[in-house]
C-alpha cells in the first residue's frame, strides 16, 4: 500500500501517460477482460507424489505370500486391505479411491516404470518430468506439448502449478507456465499495481536474466487480476479436507470452473520418502491423496466440469520390495499411477508384480510410463504424442 497522498499523485501520473503510450494496453489488461480466451477445452491435472510412493503398499498384492514375507512388519494386513480385483486391494486409507473405482471414474496402472531405472530422487523425477529416461534434456513433456500444440493460444498461463518449486514438467525455453504458492499474494492496490506495470514493461536488453525477469514480472502482473477474478466467487461443489494438497485441488477446481486459459495444472503431495517407520506416515499421505482426489472429482461433477478434466498421478519411483530394519523402505523402481475423471476407461492396467523374479531386490517394470503419457497426449489432449515424446509408443488404453 502506498500512502494516500502518493496514490492521488499516481492517479494524476496515470492521466499523463499519453507520454508513455499504451501502458494500460499491456497484455495483462487485455487478457483480464478478454472472454474469448475462456477455456472450454479439456484440461489435465498432474499430481506429483514426491519422494517415491510405495506402490506395493498402495495397490497391495494381497494374495501374494512373497509380499508378506518381504514385509513382515509394514505389509498391509490382508483383512484390512480394500479388495478391488482377484489380485489387488487398495490401501485401507483409500476408501474414496475404491468408491471412484467402483463408479468407473478411476483407472490404476500398476508396475509402471522404464528401462534401467534410476534411484536418485532428482534424476528419477527429472526422467518422469522430461519423459526422457536415456539422457538428460532441459524440457518437460508438457512444456514440449505447449510448444508443439498450443502456440496459437495467447495465454500467459497454459500451465499453472500450485507449489513452491517450479516443476520440470513445464520447462521449456519458451515457458508458458506459472508457479504460485498462494493466490492471495496477487493483490496490491491500484496505484502500486500501475506503477509496477510501468516499471516492468518489457524492453529487451543485452542481459538475458534481466529480460527473463521482465517477462516473468509482466506475466505476474497480468495474472494477478485474472486469478482474483477466477477466485472471487469462491464457489465450491464439495467439501475438502483442510490440508494443503486438498485445498490446492480446491483452488484448481475453481480455476477450471472459471474457465481460465490453463490447459494443464500441477499439484504436489510430498513426504513419500519413507525410509523409516513408514506405516503411519504413508497412511496419512494416502488418506490425503484419496480424499483430495475424491473431493475434487465430486466438486467438478457438481460444477459441471468433470467431463473435461483428467487427473493423473505419478511418483519418481516405487520402493524396494523388502522392508528395511527401521520399518521403512528404501528407493526402488516400478510404481503405481492413478488416473481419475469423467473420461477414463476404468480398471487396473497391468498384472501383479512377480515378487519371485526381482532385479537385485527391485520390481521389474511391466508398463512404460511413456505409454500412459502417450494416452494422455493423444487420446485426451488430442496431441501428436510422437512429436512430444520423441518416440512412437503405443498409448495404453486408459482413456475411453
Amino acid at each position: 500500500m502506498l500512502p494516500q497522498i502518493d496514490r492521488r499523485r499516481f492517479l494524476s501520473v496515470g492521466a499523463l501517460t499519453a507520454t508513455v503510450p499504451g501502458f494500460l494496453s499491456q497484455t495483462g489488461h487485455v487478457l483480464a477482460d478478454d472472454k474469448s480466451l475462456a477455456n472450454k477445452e479439456r484440461v489435465l491435472v498432474v499430481v506429483q507424489l514426491a519422494g517415491g510412493n510405495d506402490g506395493l503398499n498402495t495397490l497391495v498384492p494381497y494374495r501374494d505370500e512373497a509380499y508378506y514375507k518381504a514385509r513382515p512388519k509394514i505389509g498391509i494386513p490382508r483383512t484390512q486391505s480394500l479388495k478391488i480385483t482377484d489380485d489387488f486391494a487398495l490401501h485401507p486409507e483409500t476408501g474414496e479411491l475404491r468408491t471412484l473405482y467402483d463408479a468407473g471414474e478411476l483407472t490404476i496402472v500398476t508396475n509402471v516404470g522404464y528401462p534401467n531405472p534410476n534411484r536418485s530422487h532428482f534424476r528419477a523425477t527429472e526422467i518422469w518430468e522430461t519423459a526422457y529416461p536415456d539422457k538428460p534434456v532441459h524440457t518437460g513433456w508438457i512444456g514440449r506439448y505447449f510448444d508443439a500444440e498450443c502456440r496459437g493460444i495467447p495465454s500467459p498461463m497454459l500451465g499453472l502449478q500450485l507449489g513452491e518449486n517450479p516443476a520440470m514438467t513445464f520447462s521449456h525455453p519458451k515457458g508458458r507456465a506459472v508457479t504460485l504458492t498462494n493466490p492471495s499474494l496477487f493483490k496490491w492496490d491500484d496505484a502500486t499495481g500501475k506503477a509496477m506495470e510501468r516499471l516492468n514493461r518489457v524492453g529487451p536488453t543485452d542481459n538475458p536474466q534481466l529480460d527473463f525477469l521482465q517477462r516473468t514480472g509482466n506475466d505476474t502482473l497480468s495474472l494477478s487480476r485474472k486469478i482474483q477474478d477466477a477466485l472471487k466467487d469462491g464457489k465450491s461443489g464439495a467439501e475438502y479436507a483442510p490440508f494443503n494438497f486438498s485445498q490446492s485441488l480446491k483452488v484448481v477446481a475453481q480455476m477450471i470452473a472459471a474457465e481460465v486459459p490453463t490447459r494443464v495444472y500441477y499439484v504436489s503431495l510430498g513426504g513419500f520418502d519413507t525410509h523409516t517407520t513408514q506405516t503411519g506416515r504413508h497412511a496419512g499421505l494416502l488418506q490425503e491423496l484419496s480424499q483430495g482426489i475424491s473431493s475434487f472429482v465430486a466438486d467438478l461433477k457438481a460444477l459441471g466440469h468433470l467431463d473435461r478434466t483428467l487427473v493423473m498421478t505419478f511418483s519418481e519411483f516405487g520402493r524396494r520390495v523388502a522392508e528395511n530394519e527401521q520399518q521403512g523402505t528404501d528407493h526402488g523402481t516400478a510404481g503405481v499411477m492413478f488416473l481419475a475423471g469423467g473420461g477414463v476407461k476404468a480398471g487396473v492396467h497391468g498384472t501383479r508384480p512377480d515378487l519371485s523374479d526381482l532385479d537385485d531386490g527391485d520390481l521389474k517394470f511391466q508398463i512404460d510410463f511413456r505409454s500412459v503419457y502417450a494416452a494422455v497426449l493423444k487420446d485426451w489432449l488430442g496431441a501428436d504424442a510422437k512429436k512430444v515424446l520423441g518416440i512412437d509408443v503405443k498409448p495404453l488404453p486408459v482413456i475411453s
Binding site: 500500500m1 502506498l2 497522498i5 502518493d6 499523463l16 508513455v20 514426491a50 534411484r119 536418485s120 530422487h121 532428482f122 513452491e164 517450479p166 506459472v178 508457479t179 504460485l180 504458492t181 498462494n182 492471495s184 499474494l185 493483490k187 496490491w188 502500486t192 506503477a195 509496477m196 516499471l199 516492468n200 514493461r201 524492453g203 536488453t205 542481459n207 538475458p208 536474466q209 534481466l210 527473463f212 525477469l213 516473468t216 514480472g217 505476474t220 479436507a241 483442510p242 490440508f243 494443503n244 494438497f245 486438498s246 485445498q247 510430498g270 525410509h275 523409516t276 517407520t277 503411519g280 506416515r281 497412511a283 496419512g284 494416502l286 488418506q287 528395511n324 530394519e325 528404501d330 537385485d360
Partner: protein, 522 residues
C-alpha cells in the same frame, strides 16, 4: 591472450554484491584503491576471524529429551509432554531463524555468513522433517565453524552430527539391513556427484556407516527403552555413539578402494576423490554467479582443492580473483536469493531492523525458508528463485519494510496432513479442530512480534539527498542497482518522484526500485 581483471569501483561493487550481500558505493570506491588480491585476502581473513553469533539461551548442554517416555509414563503425560515439546521447539525454531537472519544483517564480516549459507544449501537438513531445534542449531554452528576451513573437516563435522544422523537415517542403521539414505546423498549431492559412482558403492558405504546411534554423554545412567515407542520418545541424547555390535566390520569396496572401512575411511575416500573437487568448485561458481562456459575456472579451482587437500578459503580465492568472475557475462546476472535480497536490502538502505519471525517468513514466502530447504538437494537457485508466485512476494517487500505490514497469503494455503485421521466422523471433526487450533496458534505465535523495521531517508544516501528528482533517482540507482537500469526505468521513476512531495520522495523511489526487475539482480 590470458584475460585479465579490470579492477575498479564497478568491479568492487560487483565483488561486494556477491560476497557481502551488497556494498555501498563508498565502500566500493575504498576497495578499488587497493589491489584485488589484497582485497580478497583481507576479506577472507576477516571472514575467518569473524566472531560467531552468541549461543541462544535455550540451547542446553547436554540436551534433554523433554518427551522421553519411561515405563511409568502415563498416556496422558506422554501426550502432554509431546505437545509442550512441540510448542517449545516451534518457538525455538522461530528464534533460530531470527538469530541467524539478524546476524547476517549486522555482521561486519558477511562473507562468513554467505559461505555458511552456501553450505546450508549443500549439507541440508529440512526442519519440516528433522525438527529438533538444538540439532538444527548445532549443525549451523558446524557449518559456520568450517565454512572457510577444510572440506574434509566440514564433511566429518556434519556427518557424525545429530541433525544429519536423524535426517538421513544414519542413526541406528543396522548391519542386518543397512539404511542407504545417507550413503546415496553423500555420493550424489555432497561429494562426487552423479555419474561418478555405482549403486554398489552406495550399498557398500551404507554398510560402512552402520553401527551409529545418538545417546546421552558417556557415563550418564541408562534408562530402559519403552518397547515400540518411536525413536523420538526414547532418545536419551544427541551425542553420536558407536555401537560395535550393529556395525558391519566386513570388507567393503568403495569407489575402487577396498578395506574394512568405517565412517572415517569412507569420508577420507570421498573427500579426496577428484570428482569431489570438481563438484564443489562448480557449485561455488554457480552460487557466486560466475560464468564459466568451458569449465576452465572450475578446473583451476579443483586443482587448488587437490593441492591444498580441500582448503575452502584457497579455492574461493581462486574464484574471487578470476577473470571469469569479473567477466561481462558474470556481471549483474545473478538472481538474488531471497536471503540475499532481504539482507542486502536491509544493509543497503541502512534500515534499523531487528529480525522477528515475521521477517524470517519473508524469505520463506519467497521460497527460501532458513533451516528448511525444499529437499535434500537444497535450493536450486538461479531462475528457480523466480516464478510468478515468488515474484509476487518480492513485490510486497516495500510494504513490509516501509509500512511494517504483512500481506495476505504469506503462508502455504493450509498445513500438511501428517497422519491419517480417524474414520469415525465425530473423532475426525475433533481432530481437525485440534489441528486447526494448533496451526492457528502457530501462526499467531509467529506473527506476534510483527515487523521491527524503520527507515530513515537521510541514512540511505549518507545524508546527501539531491533536490532534483532526476539526480535523486540517479543517486539511488547508483546505490541500489548492480545492472545499468533501462532508460525507461529511470524516466518512469523520475516522473513519479517529481509528482510526490519532496519529503516523501526518497522513500517512494526506494519502494519502487525494490519492485523493479533490475533490483532482483546482483
Amino acid at each position: 591472450m590470458k584475460p585479465t581483471v579490470t579492477w575498479d569501483a564497478a568491479a568492487a561493487s560487483h565483488l561486494l554484491s556477491r560476497t557481502e550481500f551488497s556494498g555501498t558505493p563508498m565502500r566500493a570506491k575504498q576497495l578499488a584503491t587497493r589491489p584485488l588480491s589484497e582485497v580478497v585476502a583481507v576479506m577472507i581473513e576477516e571472514a575467518k576471524a569473524a566472531v560467531p553469533p552468541p549461543k541462544p539461551a535455550w540451547v542446553k548442554e547436554p540436551w534433554v529429551n523433554t518427551e522421553r517416555v519411561y515405563p511409568e509414563t502415563t498416556a496422558m503425560e506422554r501426550m502432554e509432554n509431546h505437545r509442550k515439546t512441540g510448542e517449545r521447539q516451534t518457538r525455538e525454531r522461530n528464534e533460530l531463524r531470527c538469530w541467524w537472519l539478524d546476524h547476517m544483517i549486522r555482521t561486519p564480516a558477511p562473507l562468513r555468513e554467505v559461505m555458511t549459507l552456501f553450505w546450508h544449501g549443500h549439507f541440508t537438513t529440512e526442519a519440516k522433517r528433522m525438527f529438533v531445534s538444538q540439532a538444527l542449531y548445532t549443525q549451523n554452528v558446524a557449518l559456520r565453524t568450517h565454512a572457510l576451513g577444510n572440506f574434509r573437516d566440514l564433511l566429518g563435522a556434519v556427518t557424525l552430527d545429530a541433525a544429519m544422523m536423524m535426517y538421513l537415517n544414519i542413526e541406528d542403521s543396522d548391519a542386518k539391513k543397512p539404511n542407504e539414505n545417507f550413503a546415496r546423498e553423500l555420493l550424489e549431492l555432497f561429494t562426487v556427484g552423479i555419474g561418478n559412482y555405482t549403486e554398489r558403492d552406495i550399498k557398500e558405504i551404507a554398510r560402512a556407516l552402520t553401527g551409529w546411534t545418538l545417546d546421552a554423554p558417556p557415563g550418564t545412567p541408562k534408562r530402559p527403552l519403552v518397547k515400540d515407542a518411536p525413536r523420538s520418545f526414547c532418545r536419551d541424547g544427541l551425542v553420536p555413539t558407536f555401537v560395535k555390535e550393529k556395525h558391519d566390520a566386513g570388507e567393503k569396496t568403495v569407489l575402487g578402494k577396498t578395506g574394512q572401512f568405517g565412517v572415517k575411511e569412507v569420508l577420507d575416500i570421498v573427500a579426496a576423490h577428484p570428482a569431489t573437487a570438481r563438484f564443489i568448485s562448480a557449485k561455488l561458481i554457480t552460487y557466486f554467479g560466475a560464468s564459466d562456459p568451458r569449465n576452465e575456472l572450475r578446473d583451476r579451482m579443483a586443482a587448488k582443492f587437490g593441492q591444498t587437500k580441500g582448503d575452502i578459503a584457497a579455492v574461493l580465492t581462486v574464484l574471487l580473483t578470476s577473470p571469469e568472475f569479473f567477466a561481462k557475462e558474470s556481471r549483474g546476472t545473478l538472481i538474488k536469493s531471497p536471503v540475499h535480497l532481504l539482507v542486502g536490502t536491509c544493509r543497503l538502505l541502512s534500515l534499523d531492523v531487528t529480525a522477528t519471525p515475521s521477517l524470517a517468513q519473508v524469505t520463506a514466502a519467497m521460497g527460501q525458508e532458513l533451516f528448511n530447504p525444499p529437499n535434500v538437494k537444497g535450493w536450486p537457485g538461479g531462475r528457480d528463485w523466480i516464478s510468478s508466485g515468488t515474484l509476487a512476494v518480492r513485490y510486497h517487500l516495500p510494504e513490509i519494510l516501509f509500512d511494517g505490514k504483512e500481506p495476505a497469503g504469506f503462508e502455504p494455503i493450509a498445513t500438511d496432513r501428517n497422519f491419517a485421521l480417524p474414520a469415525d466422523e465425530k473423532a475426525r471433526r475433533e481432530m481437525i479442530a485440534r489441528i486447526r487450533d494448533f496451526d492457528k496458534k502457530r501462526r499467531e505465535e509467529r506473527k506476534k512480534d510483527g515487523f521491527k523495521v524503520s527507515f530513515e531517508p537521510a541514512k540511505v544516501l549518507d545524508g546527501a539527498v539531491p533536490e532534483k528528482p532526476e539526480e535523486l533517482v540517479a543517486a539511488l540507482a547508483a546505490r541500489l542497482y548492480l545492472v545499468t537500469p533501462r532508460p525507461d526505468t529511470l524516466t518512469t521513476l523520475t516522473e513519479i518522484v517529481r509528482n510526490a512531495p519532496p519529503v516523501e520522495r526518497v522513500k517512494l523511489a526506494c519502494r519502487l526500485i525494490l519492485t523493479t526487475p533490475e533490483y532482483q539482480l546482483a
